[in-house]
């Protein structure tokens, strides 16, 4: 199969964040960036689908400034065949604009499957993958927690609130990947060496009008410091009293 995986470069989610002087971005100094968590599951899913099928081509695509090339190389070191960099100065907060640029790149690519993470850590919006499917006019399974392809047909599982649905879909299609599909492999030394020679094409992105802008970024208020009220079973009556009189939840 020919599979495209669209990834985003995001900061390590375990970082302690600070706000930039502009007040409308995070301070990137000292942060470690990598392929976004859900997107890395999508990369792994693409590799596994083609391994299982015994062949195929995988292409990784990212929109962003030049530093996204690191993330593209990493995906190739995991085993993806080639990469496309859609160049912009900064990734906008407008998911529809990003989707248009990606759809323009994907449209004539002849892909059987296009994978995304279900959302990116930074924007936490989950717009781009689904919007790309709509723009391409192909079926879209969102937040798949299982995915397989058999006889030219896809099968996926989606978790709903308190339920789950199994779906089947024709190809070509877009699938956004949730927890559960695959844990990403670590690049091997051989993979890292091979990735340096794999093709990476860089070209300007066609974003169009930007209609969603980030006006302000703030850190949410800190929780008050935690309090240990006691040890073992002996502390239970005090906990129940506090839940009744202070927290008023029972």
């Amino acid at each position: 199969m020919k599979i495209a995986v669209c990834i985003k470069r995001t900061p390590d989610s375990e970082s302690r964040f600070k706000i930039a002087a502009s007040g409308a971005a995070i301070d990137e100094a000292g942060l470690k960036f990598d392929i976004d968590d859900f997107a890395s599951y999508a990369v792994e899913a693409a590799l596994q689908l083609n391994e299982k099928a015994g062949g195929g081509e995988s292409v990784v695509i990212a929109l962003g400034p030049d530093n996204v090339q690191e993330a593209l190389r990493k995906a190739m070191s995991m085993g993806v065949d080639r990469a496309v960099h859609l160049k912009v100065d900064a990734v906008p907060a407008d998911g529809i604009a990003v989707a248009k640029a990606l759809a323009a790149e994907l449209k004539d690519g002849g892909y059987d499957l296009v994978l995304f993470g279900k959302h990116a850590f930074d924007s936490s919006a989950g717009v781009v993958g689904t919007a790309v499917a709509e723009l391409l006019g192909v079926p879209c399974v969102t937040a798949a927690s299982q995915l397989s392809v058999d006889g030219g047909k896809g099968i996926a599982r989606r978790e709903l609130e308190g339920a789950a649905e199994m779906v089947s879909f024709p190809l070509p299609a877009v699938v956004t990947i949730d927890e559960g599909v695959a844990r990403p492999r670590y690049p091997s030394l051989k993979g890292i060496m091979a990735a340096k020679k794999k093709p990476l094409e860089s070209k300007p992105a066609q974003l169009g009008a930007i209609r969603v802008t980030l006006q302000k970024a703030e850190l949410p208020p800190e929780r008050p410091a935690g309090r240990i009220i006691g040890e073992g079973v002996a502390a239970v009556p005090e906990l129940v009293r506090l839940l009744q009189t202070e927290a008023k939840v029972i």
Partner: protein, 328 residues
Amino acid sequence: MANILVFAESRGSDLRKVAFEAVTAARALADATGGGEVHAVLAGPAGIGARAGDLGKFGADAVLVAESSDFEKFARESLAATIAEKAKSGGYRAVILGFSAQGRDLGPRIAARLDAPIASDVTEIVSSGDTITVKHPGYANKVMLTLVLSGSPVVISVRPSAFTAKENAKTARSETLAPVAASGATITVTSVEEGARGRPDLGDASIIISGGRGLKAAENFKLVEELADAFGHAAVGATRAVTDDGWRPHSDQIGQTGRQVSPQLYVAVGISGAIQHLAGMRTSKTIVAINKDKEAPIFKIADYGIVGDVLDVVPALTAAIKEARKDH
């Protein structure tokens, strides 16, 4: 003055809580933009129209009823087309829906069809005029983002439980909305697996009892279930370590890569408090932690911590909660 279109989410023959929250948010936005009408799309199998009156109670002026057997299994392409076509024809200022499993699937479809800007998982609509300004927690709840949307209409999905459903009695008129068929290839729902009955969803629950590796074995998770039962209408969650080990399904996972929740009370049982987990629950109103390691990071954010073996403390707490709630 402009009207607002809102998607009132249902499952089976019932409206979901997020439907009332979305209607409440739509009502507030309509009032803030000069008193336009709120039109709620109620889509489902035949008979769903009977729920229309419930939406009027929360401020809908009109309920647009789209009945089709396809909607029973969330025919998302047709549903998105139906909502988008209505939005196009009606000159709406905004389309509002919940950021639920259904809503997060539909929102971007509708926005792409309308070529409209979209903001997801919104916790506050700050202002509205020529542009609409909203707040949305990004970076797994670690950074609050203020976004400005220009153009009309806009699509906004609201975080479940962020907008408290407010009664605002209207006698909503009911209208029929013809379902629009999907134009291209679609996905087919082959089966739906219902989860454990009798417990609220993690996103709807005001009390969540959550278990981690400190429970030591899958069978000890029954202590978490029993504590949830003692509280009455509580949901049960788990850490990523627990779902990875298969003690609980992935759908129960609370954390950065799982569900993000903000209940009134969150009880962390045998959870050390990895950053991955804290990202999913730190906005809970009151946090209780029970863990044997007093240095565990969960105690840094727990309002009430008990240091101890969960296998001893939890059964005692279950008994005490039952006693305290025996009049309920």
